[in-house]
């Protein structure tokens, strides 16, 4: 697993430098990426964060109608407490800040600690955790599920709500409802390697696929010989549809997301089948997304995220937004 990089220790900082150099709408403060323009007064702020190595997640979703700031850690390691605190402060426009990030132990502790630190300055914060990965816990324990690619739907929907002037409680409820309505499952075909690490994050046979594997190589549901794209897509859709959702709708958006090395060609082959199966199940697809939205560097594989839309969520999904990697 070759990398075009300099010192492994410089990987994240050099990457962030490049990101803001290429995207002048973003600014960097240590391990925080925020909108270059100061926080909009009177708008509820939204921050996210997590480990590096998932671009466009997390920092690539800072933009108008999406995130206001993002705390970013080393590759696959959570952001520091300081970074979380800084991000919250950067996002604060006086009406409170929603912390919207994936359900990982370290990240939760750090964002919680950071939230306590900004309380001193009367910055009100709330938390919504991305918990969309259905392979990471049974429906009964859905609160234990990891957050993966589906979180970008929550970014977009909550971001539009905040952009429209809603208050912190409303933005928080909207984000929570988006998370609740969203399900993701992934498959992995090959691992990635953390810069400087001696070996890839996991080993997998040259002809194997793992269903349900997590974006850091967390073990999945089964591992077996690679199957056809249609078979894989069918099983993924079946698992997504079988997972109970409180307010299911017949209008959905779907994200077919590359984990890194899997090219667009394969995503479209899979999307074709996914669209057919969803339609067969009586669902109407709205604003599908196919591409590299949440990756694990050079990992091969893909994830499928499905979000049920009520009228409000559908309108928020369609609202204008703009960040380096997504524009509506």
């Amino acid at each position: 697993m070759k990398k075009l990089m300099n010192a492994p220790d410089a990987f994240v900082d050099e990457m962030l430098d490049g990101l803001v150099a290429a995207h002048p709408a973003l600014a960097r403060e240590a391990r925080v990426i925020r909108l270059a323009a100061p926080a909009r007064k009177g708008k509820v702020g939204i921050v996210s964060g997590g480990g590096s190595g998932h671009l466009p997640l997390f920092t690539g979703y800072v933009g108008r109608g999406l995130l206001d700031a993002c705390a970013i850690g080393d590759v696959f390691a959570g952001p520091s407490v300081d970074a979380c605190e800084q991000a919250i402060r950067a996002a604060d426009g006086g009406r409170g800040v929603l912390r919207l990030y994936g359900n990982y132990g370290g990240d939760r502790m750090n964002f919680d600690l950071a939230g306590e630190m900004v309380e001193i300055d009367d910055i009100e914060t709330t938390t919504v955790l991305g918990t969309d990965d259905i392979a990471s816990a049974a429906p009964a324990e859905s609160g234990k599920r990891r957050g993966v690619a589906g979180i970008i739907y929550a970014y977009k929907i909550a971001g539009a709500k905040a952009d429209a002037g809603a208050d912190l409680a409303e933005v928080t409820a909207t984000a929570q409802a988006a998370v609740d309505a969203c399900r993701t499952i992934g498959v992995a075909l090959s691992p990635c390697q953390i810069p400087g690490a001696a070996a890839p994050t996991f080993a997998i046979g040259a002809d194997e696929i793992e269903m349900g594997m997590g974006i850091h190589g967390e073990p999945g549901i089964w591992r077996d010989k690679l199957r056809s794209a249609d078979d894989v897509a069918d099983e993924m859709v079946k698992r997504l549809l079988a997972d109970p959702v409180k307010h299911a709708s017949d209008r959905v958006s779907v994200l077919v997301n590359s984990l890194g090395a899997t090219p667009l060609e394969e995503l479209f082959i899979v999307y074709r089948r996914v669209a057919r199966q969803l339609t067969k199940n009586g669902l109407t697809i709205v604003r599908p997304l196919v591409g590299h939205y949440v990756t694990s560097m050079e990992m091969a594989g893909l994830s499928i995220s499905l979000i049920h839309l009520d009228a409000a969520r559908e309108a928020l999904l369609a609202a204008p937004a703009e960040c380096p990697f997504w524009r509506v």
Binding site: S80, G106, D112, I194, A197, E218
Partner: protein, 201 residues
């Protein structure tokens, strides 16, 4: 017997060296049931902690505060943040003090354990660093002598590893590996044992 600021500075240096020495072992342990970064994270973290120790400070709490600050700036991993929590807890509990009697160690470690559980949501028995802390805290109950404390703590950390090795991890990434974690040391518990061993030489 009591510990003072110089003891803490020495402990920080030793922890730094021990973390560096255990780098490969801890990465490997974490690689078996996590993301393989425990070693690299702790090495970096304890280097930052040692670096942050104010040279002339006598106030033990101020030292812990400096350690906590260094942690908050330099780590985001679960275990790293638990170290941050530990340092913050110790800073609060030793406010204004220049020495910490050995007799208080059991209580301090128990407070750290409780704060870690409150923050991280671990239960006793989940097979995490919290179980190691718990064992050591309990082993120091009623101990007032330095040498006795060292012996008891060391023995307790090893005993905890032995006791938990055959069990399943029920927390974080490791939880996903289920029964496959039986027979493996939890990297956080292992790290705690290695650091303790160095710190209390």
């Amino acid at each position: 017997m009591a510990l003072d600021a110089d003891d803490l500075r020495l402990a920080a240096d030793r922890a730094r060296d021990a973390a560096a020495a255990a780098h490969d072992e801890l990465n490997a342990a974490d690689g078996r049931l996590g993301d393989g970064d425990t070693g690299v994270m702790l090495k970096r973290l304890f280097a930052a902690i040692a670096e942050a120790a104010p040279a002339d400070e006598r106030d033990v709490s101020k030292l812990f505060q400096a350690f906590a600050k260094a942690c908050a700036a330099s780590t985001g991993s679960s275990l790293g943040t638990l170290v941050t929590v530990a340092m913050m807890t110790l800073a609060k509990a030793t406010r204004g003090r220049e020495t910490v009697p050995v007799a208080e160690l059991a209580g301090l470690l128990a407070a750290v354990r409780d704060q870690m559980m409150a923050r991280g949501g671990a239960q006793l028995g989940d097979k995490s660093v919290v179980d190691a802390l718990d064992a050591v805290a309990r082993s120091l109950d009623g101990v007032t002598d330095g040498a006795a404390a060292r012996a008891a703590a060391r023995a307790a950390a090893i005993a905890a590893l032995d006791e938990f090795r055959g069990r399943e991890n029920r927390l974080g990434r490791a939880r996903m590996f289920g029964a496959r974690t039986k027979g493996l040391d939890d990297p956080g518990m292992l790290a705690f044992a290695r650091l303790l061993d160095a710190v209390i030489v």
